[in-house]
Point group: C2
Chain length 143, copies 2
Amino acid sequence: MKSEAIPAILKKYKLKVTPVRIAVLRVLIDSDTAMSHADIAQLLSDQHFDKVTLYRTLSHFTEKGIVHKVATEDRSWLYAVLAENNADIATDKTHAHFICDDCDKIFCFPIDEGSGQSVKSMKKGFLVKELEIRLHGVCPSCQ
Amino acid sequence: MKSEAIPAILKKYKLKVTPVRIAVLRVLIDSDTAMSHADIAQLLSDQHFDKVTLYRTLSHFTEKGIVHKVATEDRSWLYAVLAENNADIATDKTHAHFICDDCDKIFCFPIDEGSGQSVKSMKKGFLVKELEIRLHGVCPSCQ
DNA sequence: ACGCCAAATGCAACTTAGTTGCAATAGAAA
DNA sequence: TTTCTATTGCAACTAAGTTGCATTTGGCGT
């Protein structure tokens, strides 16, 4: 993605364009996997942003729908940009998370509507609004 | 479930029969939803078990496969007994978690093998070993 | 270009869920 | 009953994330 595009995304979501936001959004867009607060802080450590600012940046992005977050098995959050901001990555409503048991990376990708339908109707009395599918296994680069 | 059955389950999994374990297992078997450490501590508060003992009891149960755990959206764990110990509840490998957006309770139930298959083969290069499906919506008692 | 002000930032202190180390205790096998 | 290992309880600790508050700054109106 071109550098100029990043401020444009922030403006589109009515967020002020600041150095932290540009840096964090670039990192997320460039990543092929969902990233934790710690991952991002590590990558941006030379710019010494405050950890609280990073948390708040990520939660602003989540509220606005620029990114979405996934709870991991070790009580932390991973963040990944949503489809309209990066064509490679899944949309919000129906998507799968692939968790590599080897490298612990989480990949998001869209699934076809159909594969969820059989599940949605399976238990009487439960009204299903949203669906998340989690797959555990081994990613291509760890095989 | 009859009271005498609980020590039998513990013995079956080669765990010593102790008061904490009997109490915790009974609570889990009697519940129709997955429960947190805090939920269980609350219910057993009159017996003043140490919180560390409860954590260790739950992780022993998980290691032995008596219960399984689900990560929640608020970075904590919920526990539910597995099928062989309670016919109403899902098996480990292929099951769904229904999260009620109203009362936040999590229900587990089994799904037919078929509904996962279409997802498992969807992205080339990813070797899928396990599948978890999460459904968000409204449970029968909140409608 | 300038000033204003709500929004954003940085710092310190705090919260919450869960973990570790260790000494004391208690199942259950012999 | 004795013994031995697993289990328990307590205190201190860790890691991820949050809150309060004073300071700074992006971007709008003029």
